[in-house]
Point group: C2
């Protein structure tokens, strides 16, 4: 099995970050005479900023409201000096992710390959083994089961359209079971089960007990049909200086229309358009685009309420929960020992480790 | 299988009902000099009102804040005149539910038996059959499978403590599968599967695809260990004048400490206690008790944020979704035809029907 990596830092409690301040009657009065935008975009992560750019390119007026005091959403880079960063949030791209790679080219953000030279470490039951390539030195039984599972995932995914997974002939059967249940039913060796759980954790930042099998299959289709891509090459490209630059550069081009520190707490919508209330004032638009994670959207008060089915959907899209820790060394000493820095462990709190060095290998 | 009935109207989008108004800086300033309660209870449904009563009985000061302009939460009765009501929300009690029955006695709310005389109707594939007793005239195969499933549910439930289901030896196995998946794996006849889905819908107001098997088993333990109780006798007692009276009478005794129309939108908590912000003002307390449904609690802004694990839990407790319709006739004409008024259908939008007449059978 290829190295399993953490793809995204899904921040628990993002909704809470919206803060506790809310619009006064005065703010509402002011909004009545405020400007009417064609579109207000909520959220200044990549989705929101790209949406705002598209609206402006179409010749329409647009405003972006961001709850946090920064742009970038789930891309969050921590500066370690000299233009280098430790990525605290999402960090990888991969072959076929043409839009984000095209955006990087357009914005002048260079990419570099994820470090993958040297042996990997596999740690299980107190035993440390090294291995090269993508297959950890698990027991032969576990390896056979894991390979069979990947084949079966890929086979099932063939009938699942990435954009409309619910139209797959077996969609109902696959959506009533968690990935964990499928693994429990189909893998019988404990080591292979542990490796499967680890892979899901790496891909989703979430337990296999919480993910529907259909969702996993549509994710496989989404990366081209091979589970190995999901846990492997989809994590093979990094951004020099960190991925948050994409958002920062987009926001810089958009200029004053991006307002940070402006949590949208309530939205009124009707025939006359949309009024979005933040703590200190309100904004009017013909239309609004909401890009926050689902639980954060669910925490916005809508008047009138959202359609019940959509509200129910929002209640069923929780965030995952993962801790990502960056340890910074003067130099990547493991490389001298012929190690890649990648390690997977089926025990202990630290289960997935990788070399997250800047392009030149030095902080 | 006993008649399956709707136990509770789970209102989709309850969170949205909190409204869009929020505390101004002025309100916050006022709160600094406001009274410090020992406890503020959020929510004036049965739980909140009982909690407030307990606090007051303990000699502590208490305030109840309710978002809606009424008390009663998911008990909602619609007056049809002459002291009679059509219950729009939860309506039943059953043997063993000693606390709510004791409360009714204490408050002078009489109970009466759910009407169950006469034949029931079973509708499937365009065929209407009548039957007496609890077992619908399904095919022999379906009946055998359903009976076997109920036995198996009850057997599994024996090892599940109602209050701590996660300590059951097989808790992990049962929590990674939905009830729908268990049914798909263990029932092979379509009619028995349909009846199982119907039963879950009746008990939960939610699809079997959304409920973990472990949750169902703990619910079975909660009613004494028999699935039949869950779908049968737990729905055998009604309240004369409607169950909302319990909340109304409790609130009347509590008096001015119950404030309706006061949605709590934000809560600050720390060593100095708790500050709860509503639209127009803020309230301070040493401690707070939150009784709203989980998604509504999740829509409150907490400062500091809730612990991530609890926030994650709130994100994983969605409401169910069911429509309940009361049709009012001058008299229960079906009784003259020897029918109970109960009908179950495995097709069509109306799947569960029952005689919801007032005690004397007349509106």
């Amino acid at each position: 099995m290829p190295r399993t990596r953490r793809r995204e830092l899904l921040v628990a409690g993002a909704a809470g970050a919206l803060g506790a301040r809310i619009p006064s009657a005065e703010a509402r009065r002011r909004s009545r005479r405020s400007r009417l935008y064609d579109v207000v975009v909520v959220g200044a992560g990549l989705s929101g900023l790209i949406a705002a750019r598209a609206v402006r390119r179409a010749g329409r007026s647009v405003l972006v409201l961001e709850a946090r005091h920064r742009v970038g959403g789930r891309n969050l880079d921590h500066s370690i000096g000299r233009g280098k960063v430790a990525e605290l949030g999402g960090e990888w791209a991969g072959p076929g992710q043409d839009r984000v790679l095209g955006l990087a080219r357009e914005l002048g953000v260079k990419t570099f390959p994820t470090h993958d030279q040297g042996d990997n470490v596999y740690y299980r039951d107190g035993q440390r083994k090294t291995y090269s390539g993508d297959i950890p030195p698990a027991s032969p039984v576990a390896l056979v089961e894991v390979e069979a599972a990947i084949l079966e995932f890929n086979n099932m995914a063939q009938e699942v359209p990435a954009a409309t997974p619910w139209t797959a002939p077996h969609a109902a059967d696959w959506d009533i079971q968690t990935v964990a249940k499928w693994v429990a039913d189909n893998l019988h060796d404990q080591e292979s089960r542990d490796l499967a759980a680890l892979a899901i954790r790496g891909v989703y930042g979430e337990e296999a007990t919480q993910v529907s099998l259909l969702d996993l299959l549509s994710a496989i289709t989404g990366v081209g049909g091979d589970f190995n891509t999901l846990i492997g090459s989809a994590q093979s490209i990094r951004f020099v200086g960190g991925p948050k630059q994409l958002s920062k550069k987009l926001a810089a081009r958009l200029g004053r229309i991006v307002r940070t520190g402006t949590p949208v707490l309530a939205i009124e919508h009707g025939r006359d358009g949309v009024t979005l209330h933040s703590a200190r004032r309100s904004f009017r638009a013909r239309q609004a685009i909401l890009t926050p994670p689902k639980p954060a959207i669910g925490a916005i008060r809508f008047t009138p309420q959202l359609p019940p089915a959509y509200d129910q959907y929002l209640q069923r899209q929780p965030m995952g929960s993962v801790l990502k820790v960056n340890a910074i060394y003067d130099r990547p000493f493991w490389r001298d020992q012929g190690l890649s820095g990648s390690a997977i462990s089926t025990t202990g709190p630290v289960q997935i480790v990788y070399d997250n060095s800047p392009p030149d290998g030095r902080p």
